[in-house]
Symmetry: C2
Subunit: 297 residues, 2 copies
Protein backbone atom coordinates (compact mmCIF):
# COMPACT_ATOMS: atom_id res chain seq x y z
CA UNK A 1 0.00 0.00 0.00
CA UNK A 2 3.04 2.28 0.47
CA UNK A 3 3.53 2.71 -3.27
CA UNK A 4 -0.11 3.56 -3.72
CA UNK A 5 0.09 6.23 -1.03
CA UNK A 6 3.10 7.74 -2.70
CA UNK A 7 1.15 7.84 -5.93
CA UNK A 8 -1.75 9.66 -4.30
CA UNK A 9 0.66 12.14 -2.77
CA UNK A 10 2.28 12.71 -6.15
CA UNK A 11 -1.18 13.40 -7.62
CA UNK A 12 -1.88 15.90 -4.86
CA UNK A 13 1.27 17.75 -5.84
CA UNK A 14 0.38 17.39 -9.49
CA UNK A 15 -3.10 18.94 -9.17
CA UNK A 16 -1.64 21.79 -7.12
CA UNK A 17 0.66 22.71 -9.97
CA UNK A 18 -2.09 22.19 -12.58
CA UNK A 19 -4.43 24.54 -10.68
CA UNK A 20 -1.62 27.05 -10.28
CA UNK A 21 -1.11 27.01 -14.04
CA UNK A 22 -4.82 27.15 -14.93
CA UNK A 23 -5.73 30.06 -12.65
CA UNK A 24 -4.94 33.51 -14.05
CA UNK A 25 -1.87 35.14 -12.40
CA UNK A 26 -2.61 37.17 -9.25
CA UNK A 27 -1.52 40.31 -11.11
CA UNK A 28 -4.36 39.91 -13.65
CA UNK A 29 -6.70 42.90 -13.66
CA UNK A 30 -8.70 43.26 -11.41
CA UNK A 31 -5.95 42.14 -9.03
CA UNK A 32 -8.00 41.80 -5.83
CA UNK A 33 -10.39 39.36 -7.49
CA UNK A 34 -7.57 37.28 -8.92
CA UNK A 35 -5.68 37.24 -5.62
CA UNK A 36 -8.86 36.03 -3.95
CA UNK A 37 -9.34 33.35 -6.62
CA UNK A 38 -5.86 31.99 -6.02
CA UNK A 39 -6.17 32.31 -2.23
CA UNK A 40 -9.34 30.22 -2.29
CA UNK A 41 -8.13 27.49 -4.63
CA UNK A 42 -4.42 26.97 -4.01
CA UNK A 43 -2.59 25.40 -1.14
CA UNK A 44 -5.41 23.66 0.61
CA UNK A 45 -7.68 20.71 1.01
CA UNK A 46 -7.38 16.99 0.60
CA UNK A 47 -8.03 17.26 -3.16
CA UNK A 48 -10.20 14.18 -2.85
CA UNK A 49 -12.08 14.82 -6.09
CA UNK A 50 -8.95 15.25 -8.26
CA UNK A 51 -7.48 12.13 -6.61
CA UNK A 52 -10.60 10.23 -7.62
CA UNK A 53 -10.22 11.47 -11.20
CA UNK A 54 -6.60 10.28 -11.41
CA UNK A 55 -7.28 7.00 -9.55
CA UNK A 56 -10.22 6.17 -11.83
CA UNK A 57 -7.98 6.95 -14.77
CA UNK A 58 -5.38 4.52 -13.45
CA UNK A 59 -8.00 1.79 -13.15
CA UNK A 60 -8.96 2.39 -16.78
CA UNK A 61 -5.43 2.78 -18.16
CA UNK A 62 -5.48 6.57 -18.72
CA UNK A 63 -2.33 8.50 -17.81
CA UNK A 64 -2.58 11.53 -15.46
CA UNK A 65 -1.57 14.01 -18.17
CA UNK A 66 -4.82 13.21 -19.97
CA UNK A 67 -6.84 13.93 -16.83
CA UNK A 68 -5.38 17.18 -15.51
CA UNK A 69 -8.15 19.39 -16.86
CA UNK A 70 -10.95 17.11 -15.66
CA UNK A 71 -9.33 16.98 -12.20
CA UNK A 72 -8.98 20.77 -12.11
CA UNK A 73 -12.57 21.32 -13.29
CA UNK A 74 -14.15 19.24 -10.51
CA UNK A 75 -11.90 20.88 -7.91
CA UNK A 76 -12.81 24.39 -9.15
CA UNK A 77 -16.51 23.54 -8.82
CA UNK A 78 -15.87 22.11 -5.34
CA UNK A 79 -13.95 25.18 -4.18
CA UNK A 80 -16.59 27.56 -5.57
CA UNK A 81 -19.22 25.65 -3.57
CA UNK A 82 -17.13 25.94 -0.39
CA UNK A 83 -16.63 29.69 -0.88
CA UNK A 84 -20.37 30.25 -1.35
CA UNK A 85 -21.36 27.82 1.45
CA UNK A 86 -19.15 29.71 3.89
CA UNK A 87 -20.87 33.07 3.20
CA UNK A 88 -22.62 34.81 6.10
CA UNK A 89 -26.02 34.24 4.44
CA UNK A 90 -25.27 30.52 4.17
CA UNK A 91 -23.23 28.61 6.80
CA UNK A 92 -21.38 31.72 8.02
CA UNK A 93 -18.05 29.99 8.58
CA UNK A 94 -14.83 31.80 9.50
CA UNK A 95 -12.40 28.98 8.95
CA UNK A 96 -11.81 26.68 5.99
CA UNK A 97 -8.85 24.41 5.29
CA UNK A 98 -7.18 25.96 8.33
CA UNK A 99 -7.31 29.49 6.89
CA UNK A 100 -9.80 32.36 7.15
CA UNK A 101 -12.65 31.84 4.68
CA UNK A 102 -12.62 33.94 1.49
CA UNK A 103 -15.15 36.50 2.75
CA UNK A 104 -13.12 36.88 5.97
CA UNK A 105 -9.75 37.23 4.23
CA UNK A 106 -11.24 39.53 1.57
CA UNK A 107 -14.89 40.60 1.75
CA UNK A 108 -18.35 39.27 1.03
CA UNK A 109 -18.87 40.68 -2.48
CA UNK A 110 -15.44 39.36 -3.49
CA UNK A 111 -16.34 35.90 -2.15
CA UNK A 112 -19.56 35.85 -4.18
CA UNK A 113 -17.62 36.83 -7.31
CA UNK A 114 -14.84 34.33 -6.62
CA UNK A 115 -17.37 31.50 -6.57
CA UNK A 116 -19.03 32.77 -9.73
CA UNK A 117 -15.72 33.10 -11.59
CA UNK A 118 -14.50 29.64 -10.51
CA UNK A 119 -17.64 28.02 -11.88
CA UNK A 120 -17.23 29.74 -15.25
CA UNK A 121 -13.57 28.72 -15.38
CA UNK A 122 -14.38 25.06 -14.72
CA UNK A 123 -16.56 24.84 -17.83
CA UNK A 124 -14.26 26.99 -19.90
CA UNK A 125 -11.23 24.74 -19.36
CA UNK A 126 -13.17 21.58 -20.20
CA UNK A 127 -14.17 23.24 -23.48
CA UNK A 128 -10.83 24.63 -24.51
CA UNK A 129 -7.77 24.20 -22.30
CA UNK A 130 -4.69 23.21 -24.33
CA UNK A 131 -3.90 20.40 -21.85
CA UNK A 132 -7.22 18.78 -22.74
CA UNK A 133 -6.75 15.77 -24.99
CA UNK A 134 -10.26 14.27 -25.08
CA UNK A 135 -12.32 14.39 -28.28
CA UNK A 136 -14.97 17.11 -28.74
CA UNK A 137 -17.77 14.57 -28.13
CA UNK A 138 -16.09 13.39 -24.91
CA UNK A 139 -15.63 16.95 -23.68
CA UNK A 140 -19.28 17.78 -24.30
CA UNK A 141 -20.31 14.70 -22.33
CA UNK A 142 -18.07 15.85 -19.45
CA UNK A 143 -19.47 19.40 -19.54
CA UNK A 144 -23.02 18.04 -19.51
CA UNK A 145 -22.20 15.72 -16.60
CA UNK A 146 -20.49 18.44 -14.60
CA UNK A 147 -23.32 20.91 -15.29
CA UNK A 148 -25.87 18.40 -14.10
CA UNK A 149 -23.84 17.45 -11.02
CA UNK A 150 -23.28 21.09 -10.08
CA UNK A 151 -26.77 22.39 -10.84
CA UNK A 152 -30.20 22.63 -9.25
CA UNK A 153 -30.78 18.88 -9.52
CA UNK A 154 -27.32 18.16 -8.14
CA UNK A 155 -25.01 19.99 -5.73
CA UNK A 156 -26.93 23.29 -5.61
CA UNK A 157 -30.17 21.39 -5.01
CA UNK A 158 -28.47 19.54 -2.15
CA UNK A 159 -27.32 22.81 -0.65
CA UNK A 160 -30.92 24.09 -0.81
CA UNK A 161 -32.07 20.92 0.99
CA UNK A 162 -29.32 21.43 3.57
CA UNK A 163 -30.48 24.99 4.30
CA UNK A 164 -34.11 23.87 4.53
CA UNK A 165 -33.12 21.12 6.98
CA UNK A 166 -31.82 23.46 9.69
CA UNK A 167 -33.81 22.88 12.87
CA UNK A 168 -35.87 20.13 11.20
CA UNK A 169 -36.19 16.48 12.16
CA UNK A 170 -35.13 14.53 9.08
CA UNK A 171 -35.47 10.82 8.55
CA UNK A 172 -32.31 8.91 7.64
CA UNK A 173 -33.62 8.64 4.06
CA UNK A 174 -34.15 12.39 3.81
CA UNK A 175 -30.67 13.00 5.19
CA UNK A 176 -29.21 10.55 2.70
CA UNK A 177 -31.09 12.23 -0.16
CA UNK A 178 -29.63 15.57 0.84
CA UNK A 179 -26.07 14.22 0.90
CA UNK A 180 -26.49 12.34 -2.39
CA UNK A 181 -27.11 15.74 -3.96
CA UNK A 182 -24.92 18.03 -1.89
CA UNK A 183 -21.65 16.08 -1.96
CA UNK A 184 -22.45 12.83 -3.77
CA UNK A 185 -23.19 14.37 -7.17
CA UNK A 186 -19.77 15.97 -7.56
CA UNK A 187 -17.92 12.90 -6.25
CA UNK A 188 -19.74 10.81 -8.84
CA UNK A 189 -18.90 13.40 -11.48
CA UNK A 190 -15.20 13.06 -10.58
CA UNK A 191 -15.27 9.35 -11.35
CA UNK A 192 -17.47 9.79 -14.43
CA UNK A 193 -15.33 12.55 -15.98
CA UNK A 194 -12.36 10.18 -15.83
CA UNK A 195 -14.46 7.33 -17.24
CA UNK A 196 -15.69 9.49 -20.11
CA UNK A 197 -12.06 10.03 -21.12
CA UNK A 198 -11.97 6.40 -22.33
CA UNK A 199 -12.92 5.96 -25.95
CA UNK A 200 -15.62 3.37 -25.34
CA UNK A 201 -16.19 2.25 -21.79
CA UNK A 202 -18.48 -0.72 -21.31
CA UNK A 203 -21.69 -0.10 -19.41
CA UNK A 204 -21.00 -2.64 -16.67
CA UNK A 205 -17.62 -1.10 -15.83
CA UNK A 206 -19.19 2.35 -15.76
CA UNK A 207 -21.88 1.13 -13.37
CA UNK A 208 -19.30 -0.45 -11.04
CA UNK A 209 -17.31 2.77 -10.88
CA UNK A 210 -20.45 4.83 -10.41
CA UNK A 211 -21.60 2.57 -7.58
CA UNK A 212 -18.17 2.86 -5.94
CA UNK A 213 -18.46 6.66 -6.19
CA UNK A 214 -21.95 6.67 -4.66
CA UNK A 215 -20.76 4.60 -1.70
CA UNK A 216 -17.70 6.66 -0.91
CA UNK A 217 -19.61 9.91 -1.46
CA UNK A 218 -22.01 8.92 1.28
CA UNK A 219 -19.24 7.42 3.43
CA UNK A 220 -17.41 10.74 3.21
CA UNK A 221 -20.43 12.49 4.69
CA UNK A 222 -20.97 9.91 7.44
CA UNK A 223 -17.32 10.28 8.45
CA UNK A 224 -17.74 14.09 8.34
CA UNK A 225 -20.57 13.81 10.84
CA UNK A 226 -18.56 11.46 13.07
CA UNK A 227 -15.58 13.85 13.00
CA UNK A 228 -17.86 16.77 13.82
CA UNK A 229 -18.52 14.98 17.12
CA UNK A 230 -15.18 13.28 17.81
CA UNK A 231 -12.46 15.57 16.42
CA UNK A 232 -11.34 19.08 17.34
CA UNK A 233 -11.24 22.40 15.46
CA UNK A 234 -7.48 22.47 14.99
CA UNK A 235 -7.32 19.01 13.46
CA UNK A 236 -10.37 19.62 11.28
CA UNK A 237 -9.21 22.98 9.94
CA UNK A 238 -12.82 24.14 10.29
CA UNK A 239 -15.01 24.76 13.30
CA UNK A 240 -15.75 21.50 15.14
CA UNK A 241 -19.39 20.90 16.11
CA UNK A 242 -20.48 23.68 13.73
CA UNK A 243 -23.13 21.51 12.05
CA UNK A 244 -24.69 20.36 15.31
CA UNK A 245 -24.55 23.90 16.75
CA UNK A 246 -26.29 25.24 13.63
CA UNK A 247 -29.15 22.80 14.21
CA UNK A 248 -28.25 20.75 11.14
CA UNK A 249 -29.30 17.13 11.12
CA UNK A 250 -26.31 14.75 11.08
CA UNK A 251 -25.94 10.98 10.98
CA UNK A 252 -24.79 10.99 14.58
CA UNK A 253 -27.82 13.01 15.69
CA UNK A 254 -30.30 10.88 13.73
CA UNK A 255 -29.01 7.31 14.07
CA UNK A 256 -26.43 7.82 16.85
CA UNK A 257 -22.66 7.60 16.83
CA UNK A 258 -22.24 3.85 16.97
CA UNK A 259 -24.79 3.15 14.22
CA UNK A 260 -23.01 5.85 12.16
CA UNK A 261 -19.75 3.94 12.53
CA UNK A 262 -21.42 0.71 11.43
CA UNK A 263 -22.93 2.47 8.44
CA UNK A 264 -19.51 3.83 7.53
CA UNK A 265 -18.04 0.31 7.59
CA UNK A 266 -20.91 -1.05 5.46
CA UNK A 267 -20.42 1.68 2.84
CA UNK A 268 -16.68 1.04 2.81
CA UNK A 269 -17.23 -2.71 2.26
CA UNK A 270 -19.74 -2.01 -0.50
CA UNK A 271 -17.36 0.44 -2.19
CA UNK A 272 -14.55 -2.15 -2.18
CA UNK A 273 -16.91 -4.83 -3.49
CA UNK A 274 -17.73 -2.67 -6.49
CA UNK A 275 -14.05 -2.73 -7.48
CA UNK A 276 -13.42 -6.49 -7.30
CA UNK A 277 -13.37 -7.15 -11.03
CA UNK A 278 -10.88 -4.33 -11.60
CA UNK A 279 -8.11 -6.21 -9.77
CA UNK A 280 -4.85 -4.45 -8.92
CA UNK A 281 -5.55 -1.56 -11.28
CA UNK A 282 -8.03 -0.23 -8.73
CA UNK A 283 -5.56 -0.07 -5.81
CA UNK A 284 -5.47 3.72 -5.88
CA UNK A 285 -9.25 3.85 -5.81
CA UNK A 286 -9.17 1.49 -2.80
CA UNK A 287 -6.70 3.80 -1.15
CA UNK A 288 -9.03 6.78 -1.81
CA UNK A 289 -11.83 4.82 -0.14
CA UNK A 290 -9.60 4.03 2.82
CA UNK A 291 -8.66 7.70 3.20
CA UNK A 292 -12.33 8.63 3.05
CA UNK A 293 -13.36 6.44 5.96
CA UNK A 294 -10.18 6.66 8.02
CA UNK A 295 -9.33 10.31 7.60
CA UNK A 296 -9.08 12.45 10.70
CA UNK A 297 -10.00 15.74 9.05
Amino acid sequence: MLNVRNRLQAWQERIESVLDEILPPASTHPAKLHEALRYSVLDGGKRMRPLLVYATGEALGIAPEHLDVQAAAVELIHVYSLVHDDLPAMDDDDLRRGKPTCHKAFDEPTAILVGDALQALAFQILAAHPRMTASPAQRLRMIEQLGQAAGSRGMVGGQALDLAAVGQQLTEIELENMHIHKTGALIRASVLLAAYSVDAIDVERLQQLDHFAKCIGLAFQVQDDILDVESDTQTLGKTRGADAAAGKPTYSSIIGLSASKMKLQDLYDEALNALVSLGDSADSLRCCAEFTVKRIR
Copy 2:
Protein backbone atom coordinates in the same frame (compact mmCIF):
# COMPACT_ATOMS: atom_id res chain seq x y z
CA MET B 1 -39.31 49.06 -39.78
CA LEU B 2 -42.74 47.78 -38.66
CA ASN B 3 -42.03 44.26 -39.90
CA VAL B 4 -38.68 44.22 -38.15
CA ARG B 5 -40.29 45.27 -34.87
CA ASN B 6 -42.84 42.50 -35.22
CA ARG B 7 -40.00 40.05 -35.75
CA LEU B 8 -38.23 41.22 -32.61
CA GLN B 9 -41.46 40.90 -30.65
CA ALA B 10 -41.95 37.39 -32.00
CA TRP B 11 -38.42 36.51 -30.84
CA GLN B 12 -39.19 37.90 -27.39
CA GLU B 13 -42.16 35.54 -27.21
CA ARG B 14 -40.05 32.74 -28.63
CA ILE B 15 -37.27 33.03 -26.02
CA GLU B 16 -39.87 33.18 -23.26
CA SER B 17 -41.25 29.82 -24.31
CA VAL B 18 -37.75 28.36 -24.86
CA LEU B 19 -36.69 29.39 -21.34
CA ASP B 20 -39.93 28.01 -19.95
CA GLU B 21 -39.15 24.68 -21.58
CA ILE B 22 -35.48 24.60 -20.59
CA LEU B 23 -35.98 25.41 -16.91
CA PRO B 24 -36.94 22.44 -14.72
CA PRO B 25 -40.64 22.50 -13.70
CA ALA B 26 -41.42 24.43 -10.48
CA SER B 27 -42.45 21.15 -8.85
CA THR B 28 -38.92 19.71 -9.23
CA HIS B 29 -37.35 18.78 -5.89
CA PRO B 30 -36.33 20.98 -4.05
CA ALA B 31 -39.42 22.98 -5.01
CA LYS B 32 -38.52 26.32 -3.41
CA LEU B 33 -35.26 26.52 -5.36
CA HIS B 34 -36.96 25.66 -8.63
CA GLU B 35 -39.79 28.14 -8.02
CA ALA B 36 -37.15 30.79 -7.37
CA LEU B 37 -35.29 29.84 -10.56
CA ARG B 38 -38.42 30.26 -12.65
CA TYR B 39 -39.44 33.44 -10.80
CA SER B 40 -36.07 35.02 -11.59
CA VAL B 41 -35.86 34.02 -15.24
CA LEU B 42 -39.38 34.03 -16.67
CA ASP B 43 -41.70 36.84 -17.53
CA GLY B 44 -39.34 39.75 -17.44
CA GLY B 45 -36.77 41.92 -19.09
CA LYS B 46 -36.15 43.21 -22.55
CA ARG B 47 -34.36 39.99 -23.54
CA MET B 48 -31.84 42.13 -25.37
CA ARG B 49 -29.16 39.41 -25.44
CA PRO B 50 -31.42 36.70 -26.94
CA LEU B 51 -32.69 39.26 -29.49
CA LEU B 52 -29.08 39.91 -30.49
CA VAL B 53 -28.52 36.18 -30.93
CA TYR B 54 -31.55 35.81 -33.22
CA ALA B 55 -30.85 39.05 -35.10
CA THR B 56 -27.22 38.08 -35.73
CA GLY B 57 -28.51 34.72 -36.93
CA GLU B 58 -30.83 36.46 -39.36
CA ALA B 59 -27.95 38.51 -40.74
CA LEU B 60 -26.00 35.28 -41.30
CA GLY B 61 -28.88 33.20 -42.65
CA ILE B 62 -29.42 30.97 -39.59
CA ALA B 63 -33.02 30.23 -38.61
CA PRO B 64 -34.17 30.92 -35.02
CA GLU B 65 -34.73 27.22 -34.25
CA HIS B 66 -30.97 26.69 -34.55
CA LEU B 67 -30.28 29.50 -32.07
CA ASP B 68 -32.72 28.83 -29.24
CA VAL B 69 -30.17 27.21 -26.94
CA GLN B 70 -27.53 29.87 -27.54
CA ALA B 71 -30.13 32.58 -26.84
CA ALA B 72 -31.25 30.83 -23.66
CA ALA B 73 -27.68 30.29 -22.45
CA VAL B 74 -26.70 33.97 -22.66
CA GLU B 75 -29.96 35.00 -20.99
CA LEU B 76 -29.43 32.50 -18.13
CA ILE B 77 -25.95 33.93 -17.52
CA HIS B 78 -27.39 37.45 -17.64
CA VAL B 79 -30.17 36.65 -15.16
CA TYR B 80 -27.76 34.88 -12.79
CA SER B 81 -25.60 38.02 -12.80
CA LEU B 82 -28.63 40.22 -12.00
CA VAL B 83 -29.70 37.96 -9.12
CA HIS B 84 -26.20 38.05 -7.59
CA ASP B 85 -25.71 41.79 -8.29
CA ASP B 86 -28.94 42.58 -6.44
CA LEU B 87 -27.81 40.78 -3.24
CA PRO B 88 -27.49 42.82 -0.04
CA ALA B 89 -23.70 42.34 -0.05
CA MET B 90 -23.54 43.68 -3.61
CA ASP B 91 -25.90 46.43 -4.91
CA ASP B 92 -28.65 45.66 -2.37
CA ASP B 93 -31.56 46.27 -4.76
CA ASP B 94 -35.19 45.56 -3.89
CA LEU B 95 -36.69 45.91 -7.34
CA ARG B 96 -35.78 44.29 -10.64
CA ARG B 97 -37.81 44.14 -13.84
CA GLY B 98 -40.68 45.70 -11.87
CA LYS B 99 -40.80 42.84 -9.35
CA PRO B 100 -39.18 42.25 -5.95
CA THR B 101 -35.63 40.94 -6.44
CA CYS B 102 -35.04 37.22 -5.85
CA HIS B 103 -33.64 37.63 -2.33
CA LYS B 104 -36.65 39.83 -1.42
CA ALA B 105 -39.26 37.46 -2.89
CA PHE B 106 -37.47 34.41 -1.44
CA ASP B 107 -34.39 34.82 0.75
CA GLU B 108 -30.70 35.52 0.46
CA PRO B 109 -29.35 31.95 0.48
CA THR B 110 -31.91 31.00 -2.16
CA ALA B 111 -30.83 33.92 -4.34
CA ILE B 112 -27.17 32.86 -4.10
CA LEU B 113 -28.13 29.31 -5.09
CA VAL B 114 -30.42 30.49 -7.92
CA GLY B 115 -27.52 32.36 -9.50
CA ASP B 116 -25.21 29.38 -9.07
CA ALA B 117 -27.72 26.97 -10.60
CA LEU B 118 -28.49 29.23 -13.56
CA GLN B 119 -24.83 29.44 -14.46
CA ALA B 120 -24.44 25.65 -14.42
CA LEU B 121 -27.58 25.29 -16.55
CA ALA B 122 -26.29 27.71 -19.18
CA PHE B 123 -23.22 25.58 -19.85
CA GLN B 124 -25.11 22.32 -19.54
CA ILE B 125 -27.61 23.20 -22.28
CA LEU B 126 -24.89 24.34 -24.69
CA ALA B 127 -23.24 20.95 -24.20
CA ALA B 128 -26.27 18.73 -24.50
CA HIS B 129 -29.73 20.22 -25.01
CA PRO B 130 -31.70 18.29 -27.66
CA ARG B 131 -32.67 21.57 -29.39
CA MET B 132 -28.98 22.22 -30.03
CA THR B 133 -28.05 21.57 -33.66
CA ALA B 134 -24.49 22.91 -33.83
CA SER B 135 -21.57 20.52 -34.29
CA PRO B 136 -19.52 19.41 -31.24
CA ALA B 137 -16.63 21.67 -32.28
CA GLN B 138 -18.98 24.65 -32.61
CA ARG B 139 -20.53 23.98 -29.22
CA LEU B 140 -17.13 23.81 -27.54
CA ARG B 141 -16.21 27.15 -29.12
CA MET B 142 -19.45 28.63 -27.74
CA ILE B 143 -18.85 27.21 -24.26
CA GLU B 144 -15.32 28.59 -24.26
CA GLN B 145 -16.55 32.00 -25.41
CA LEU B 146 -19.35 32.10 -22.84
CA GLY B 147 -17.03 30.95 -20.04
CA GLN B 148 -14.54 33.65 -20.93
CA ALA B 149 -17.23 36.35 -21.23
CA ALA B 150 -18.80 35.36 -17.91
CA GLY B 151 -15.59 34.80 -15.93
CA SER B 152 -13.00 36.77 -13.99
CA ARG B 153 -11.61 38.39 -17.14
CA GLY B 154 -15.12 39.22 -18.37
CA MET B 155 -18.40 39.96 -16.61
CA VAL B 156 -17.35 38.93 -13.09
CA GLY B 157 -14.16 40.99 -13.43
CA GLY B 158 -16.29 43.97 -14.49
CA GLN B 159 -18.51 43.51 -11.47
CA ALA B 160 -15.40 43.52 -9.23
CA LEU B 161 -14.29 46.76 -10.90
CA ASP B 162 -17.77 48.20 -10.37
CA LEU B 163 -17.65 47.42 -6.64
CA ALA B 164 -14.16 48.88 -6.32
CA ALA B 165 -15.32 52.06 -8.09
CA VAL B 166 -17.90 53.04 -5.45
CA GLY B 167 -16.99 56.44 -4.07
CA GLN B 168 -13.99 56.70 -6.41
CA GLN B 169 -13.26 59.29 -9.08
CA LEU B 170 -12.82 57.32 -12.30
CA THR B 171 -11.58 58.66 -15.59
CA GLU B 172 -13.80 58.11 -18.62
CA ILE B 173 -11.36 55.44 -19.81
CA GLU B 174 -11.56 53.57 -16.50
CA LEU B 175 -15.36 53.77 -16.58
CA GLU B 176 -15.38 52.45 -20.14
CA ASN B 177 -13.05 49.61 -19.17
CA MET B 178 -15.42 48.61 -16.38
CA HIS B 179 -18.44 48.57 -18.69
CA ILE B 180 -16.58 46.70 -21.44
CA HIS B 181 -16.19 43.90 -18.92
CA LYS B 182 -19.36 44.16 -16.86
CA THR B 183 -21.96 44.33 -19.65
CA GLY B 184 -19.96 44.45 -22.87
CA ALA B 185 -18.47 40.95 -22.62
CA LEU B 186 -21.82 39.18 -22.51
CA ILE B 187 -23.32 41.34 -25.26
CA ARG B 188 -20.36 40.47 -27.46
CA ALA B 189 -20.80 36.80 -26.53
CA SER B 190 -24.44 36.98 -27.68
CA VAL B 191 -23.38 38.04 -31.15
CA LEU B 192 -20.42 35.64 -31.24
CA LEU B 193 -22.46 32.59 -30.15
CA ALA B 194 -24.76 33.20 -33.11
CA ALA B 195 -21.78 33.73 -35.42
CA TYR B 196 -20.15 30.49 -34.26
CA SER B 197 -23.27 28.65 -35.38
CA VAL B 198 -22.23 29.25 -39.00
CA ASP B 199 -20.05 26.52 -40.45
CA ALA B 200 -17.24 28.80 -41.56
CA ILE B 201 -17.66 32.50 -40.99
CA ASP B 202 -15.09 34.76 -42.61
CA VAL B 203 -12.88 36.76 -40.29
CA GLU B 204 -13.90 40.16 -41.63
CA ARG B 205 -17.60 39.49 -41.11
CA LEU B 206 -16.89 38.27 -37.59
CA GLN B 207 -14.94 41.45 -36.83
CA GLN B 208 -17.75 43.65 -38.15
CA LEU B 209 -20.31 41.92 -35.96
CA ASP B 210 -17.99 42.00 -32.98
CA HIS B 211 -17.40 45.72 -33.46
CA PHE B 212 -21.15 46.31 -33.72
CA ALA B 213 -21.58 44.40 -30.42
CA LYS B 214 -18.86 46.42 -28.69
CA CYS B 215 -20.50 49.68 -29.72
CA ILE B 216 -24.01 48.78 -28.64
CA GLY B 217 -22.73 47.20 -25.42
CA LEU B 218 -21.23 50.51 -24.43
CA ALA B 219 -24.19 52.49 -25.82
CA PHE B 220 -26.48 50.39 -23.63
CA GLN B 221 -24.53 51.49 -20.56
CA VAL B 222 -24.40 55.15 -21.55
CA GLN B 223 -28.19 55.13 -22.05
CA ASP B 224 -28.54 53.36 -18.68
CA ASP B 225 -26.69 56.21 -17.01
CA ILE B 226 -28.81 58.81 -18.85
CA LEU B 227 -32.01 57.04 -17.79
CA ASP B 228 -30.77 56.86 -14.19
CA VAL B 229 -30.89 60.68 -14.26
CA GLU B 230 -33.86 61.38 -16.55
CA SER B 231 -36.36 58.58 -16.00
CA ASP B 232 -38.43 57.51 -12.99
CA THR B 233 -38.56 54.35 -10.88
CA GLN B 234 -41.91 53.16 -12.23
CA THR B 235 -40.85 53.38 -15.87
CA LEU B 236 -37.44 51.85 -15.16
CA GLY B 237 -38.77 48.90 -13.15
CA LYS B 238 -35.78 49.42 -10.85
CA THR B 239 -34.88 52.17 -8.41
CA ARG B 240 -34.13 55.41 -10.28
CA GLY B 241 -30.98 57.27 -9.25
CA ALA B 242 -29.74 54.15 -7.43
CA ASP B 243 -26.32 54.22 -9.08
CA ALA B 244 -25.70 57.89 -8.30
CA ALA B 245 -27.00 57.45 -4.74
CA ALA B 246 -24.65 54.49 -4.22
CA GLY B 247 -21.71 56.69 -5.15
CA LYS B 248 -21.10 54.83 -8.42
CA PRO B 249 -19.39 56.71 -11.19
CA THR B 250 -21.66 57.16 -14.23
CA TYR B 251 -21.20 58.75 -17.65
CA SER B 252 -23.47 61.61 -16.63
CA SER B 253 -21.45 62.25 -13.47
CA ILE B 254 -18.08 62.07 -15.23
CA ILE B 255 -18.64 63.73 -18.61
CA GLY B 256 -22.03 65.38 -17.97
CA LEU B 257 -25.47 64.69 -19.39
CA SER B 258 -25.12 66.48 -22.71
CA ALA B 259 -21.73 64.92 -23.53
CA SER B 260 -23.26 61.54 -22.59
CA LYS B 261 -25.98 62.06 -25.15
CA MET B 262 -23.43 62.95 -27.82
CA LYS B 263 -21.41 59.87 -26.94
CA LEU B 264 -24.53 57.76 -27.25
CA GLN B 265 -25.19 59.13 -30.74
CA ASP B 266 -21.57 58.51 -31.78
CA LEU B 267 -21.70 54.90 -30.61
CA TYR B 268 -25.02 54.39 -32.40
CA ASP B 269 -23.57 55.74 -35.66
CA GLU B 270 -20.48 53.57 -35.29
CA ALA B 271 -22.62 50.49 -34.63
CA LEU B 272 -24.69 51.11 -37.77
CA ASN B 273 -21.53 51.71 -39.80
CA ALA B 274 -20.24 48.29 -38.84
CA LEU B 275 -23.31 46.72 -40.47
CA VAL B 276 -23.17 48.48 -43.85
CA SER B 277 -21.86 45.56 -45.87
CA LEU B 278 -24.55 43.25 -44.48
CA GLY B 279 -27.33 45.13 -46.30
CA ASP B 280 -30.98 44.39 -45.53
CA SER B 281 -30.16 41.15 -43.72
CA ALA B 282 -28.96 43.25 -40.75
CA ASP B 283 -32.22 45.19 -40.33
CA SER B 284 -33.06 43.36 -37.11
CA LEU B 285 -29.60 44.14 -35.72
CA ARG B 286 -30.19 47.81 -36.63
CA CYS B 287 -33.49 47.67 -34.82
CA CYS B 288 -31.74 46.19 -31.73
CA ALA B 289 -29.30 49.11 -31.86
CA GLU B 290 -32.17 51.57 -32.14
CA PHE B 291 -33.91 50.02 -29.14
CA THR B 292 -30.66 50.20 -27.18
CA VAL B 293 -30.22 53.94 -27.63
CA LYS B 294 -33.89 55.00 -27.69
CA ARG B 295 -35.28 52.75 -24.97
CA ILE B 296 -36.98 54.44 -22.04
CA ARG B 297 -36.24 51.68 -19.50
